[in-house]
Amino acid sequence: MTPLSVRDLKVHFAVRGPFNRRIGSIKAVDGVSFDLMPGEVFGLVGESGCGKSTLGKAIMGIHEPTAGEIWFEGQRIDALAPAARRAVRKSLQYAYQDPGASLDPRWKIGSSLHEPLLIHTDLDQAAREKRISSILEAVGLPDTHLDLYPHEISGGQQRRVGLARILTLAPKVVILDEPTSGLDVSVQATVLSLFRSLRETFDLTYVLISHDLAVIRTMCSRVAVMYLGRIVESGPTEAIFDRPRHPYTRSLVAAIPRIGGARVTRNFWLQGEPPDPGNLPSGCRFRTRCPKATDLCAREEPVLSTLAPGSVACHYPE
């Protein structure tokens, strides 16, 4: 059974003019579907404005979906009452870009770690302490940290505490939102290896949201590429990076510098910028920048269809 399933999910934000009238909408997520496989690392990659972060937050319930369905462990969760929704959060967790920032600065770290267990379980003090102790060990932090405040430990340690807090609930699926953004390369490597070891120890399934293709490539088994609210291509990581089919995916892959290889910036072919998300072009969203665009592309929006080994949404895939 797939732990997490998303069906044609849409998250639209209203654009309001004078007198609070709705004059348009920003279709941050516009019809996204995917199924998560147990134990995998599923990557959502795209540039700013593609909707990947909004998608992650919508799955968590931070944003209300405008349409579509979210299924978690066989249960439909997008339309649940708030109390039931909260119960789901025990198994479906979300790690912020800086997990350390998720700690209340006025709470001791120990209190922050106890909190998820207080909310969701009936464990007594001793049982909670035991669980927290073992998780601290898994993330590599000493017990003495429990009495400290977040500002008294380093940024890297705050990050680990933030992750430990999520893991106290033994979630099944964790959504990682830009976990390496802003980090130095050497720190990034440490963080990624921590994620890998946690996945093994706790048998987690990850949804990894990132704009950094190198990180996606090294962590994910399957990848979905998003552009302006839709998935334009998805498939096994190898296939996406070695044989991209959608023109946008090709441009993304072409933009990655290859140390030791040819200079990619010399002849980088993708021009211009993504169009205004409040004013999307007709038909295929990418056609304004696509070298292959034809009338068909302006008339008809391509649908994500299977094309082994993955899927592509393009009228003229490679």
Partner: protein, 342 residues
């Protein structure tokens, strides 16, 4: 003559907790038209070095404790500040910042801001900037020079591939995308006709496809106009793409410098090799560097990398390694470099 030569520059900041030694005898040199990459992770001092060259360090807390910054043969550190303000900063040396959004004044159109710069720093200006006794707002902007400047602006906006330059000038900064703002900053950096452009992490805040476009643009313009570029970045890929040579800094010390191909093919310093090894690659194996960047108030002695280096021994702790020329423009400061002789 070398365009810019930084020689053994040392400086630090006075903080509540003590004196932070942010730069420790750093040297670098750039020739005309060369693109030099200054690579290092956070806290290595590359932005401080850029600011020192521009002369915009915070006056109250920064203290230069040694070294020279020679630009076209003259030491910028000892020159008259007024003359630097008029002829060097914003004219011969210009700056492209990391975050273009906060560099713009949000309540003026970008056109107003660009023309204001040209009022003072235009290559066509006869008097040096700030020469008159009238305040800036009421001084004259000769009409014919203004027209010539405006033509130059429109032409340059076209060169940086900004669509519809005339309409662009009427927009406010928040109406533009990150990529457009950065192109504008590049245009503004080139308008005064500089010899050297310092670009401080110009693509860090941008998406990967826009980054590729901007990097390509910088490279092309540098070559076409024979403008030297000092590019600071923590992104080794960006350095590989457009730099002629790369310098590596760690915790305020410069540790290695080489022409770009040699740098990536045969790095000598252990920090450089570890840095290259931490880049995530297809196989998924990337190693980090154990330990943390040291604080700069009581930094490690000698080579500041020694606490994290498996090759470190006595000499590394006692004294900073001298420059070791490895030939072909490649030098390293290490007692135990890779492929090394010592």
């Amino acid at each position: 003559m070398t365009l810019l030569a930084v020689e053994d520059l040392s400086l630090g900041f006075a903080t509540e907790a003590g004196f932070a030694s942010v730069l420790d005898r750093v040297s670098l040199s750039i020739e005309r038209g060369q693109v030099l990459g200054l690579v290092g992770e956070s806290g290595c001092g590359k932005t401080t070095l850029a600011r020192a060259i521009l002369g915009v360090l915070p006056r109250e807390t920064a203290r230069i404790t040694g070294g020279r910054v020679l630009f076209r043969g003259a030491d910028l550190l000892t020159a008259d500040p007024a003359s630097i303000n008029q002829t060097i900063r914003g004219r011969a040396i210009t700056f492209v910042p990391q975050d273009p959004f906060t560099s713009f004044n949000p309540v003026f159109t970008v056109g107003d801001q660009i023309m204001e710069i040209l009022k003072w720093k235009s290559p066509r200006a006869s008097e040096p900037a700030g020469h008159g006794w009238l305040p800036a707002v009421v001084s004259r902007y000769p009409a014919d020079r203004k027209r010539a400047d405006l033509d130059a602006v429109l032409e340059l906006l076209d060169t940086v591939q900004l669509p519809r330059p005339k309409q662009m000038l009427r927009k406010y900064p928040h109406e533009l995308s990150g990529g457009q703002r950065q192109r504008l900053m590049i245009a503004m950096a080139l308008l005064p006709g500089p010899d050297l452009v310092i670009a401080d992490e110009p693509t860090t805040a941008l998406d990967v496809t826009i980054q590729a476009q901007i990097l390509g643009l910088i490279r092309r313009l540098a070559t076409e106009r024979n403008v030297a570029v000092l590019l600071t970045t923590h992104d080794l890929g960006a350095a590989y793409e457009i730099c002629d040579a790369v310098n590596v800094m760690y915790a305020g010390q410069d540790v290695e410098s080489a022409p770009v191909d040699r740098f990536f093919a045969a790095p000598a310093h252990p920090y450089t090799t570890k840095l290259l090894a931490s880049l995530p690659d297809a196989s998924g194996t990337a190693s980090g560097i154990p330990g943390e960047v040291p604080g700069l108030i009581t930094p490690p002695g000698g080579c500041r990398f020694h606490p994290r280096c498996e090759r470190a021994d006595g000499p590394c702790r006692d004294a900073r390694p001298p420059v070791d020329q490895l030939g072909g423009g490649h030098w390293v400061r290490c007692y135990h470099p890779h492929g090394g002789i010592r």
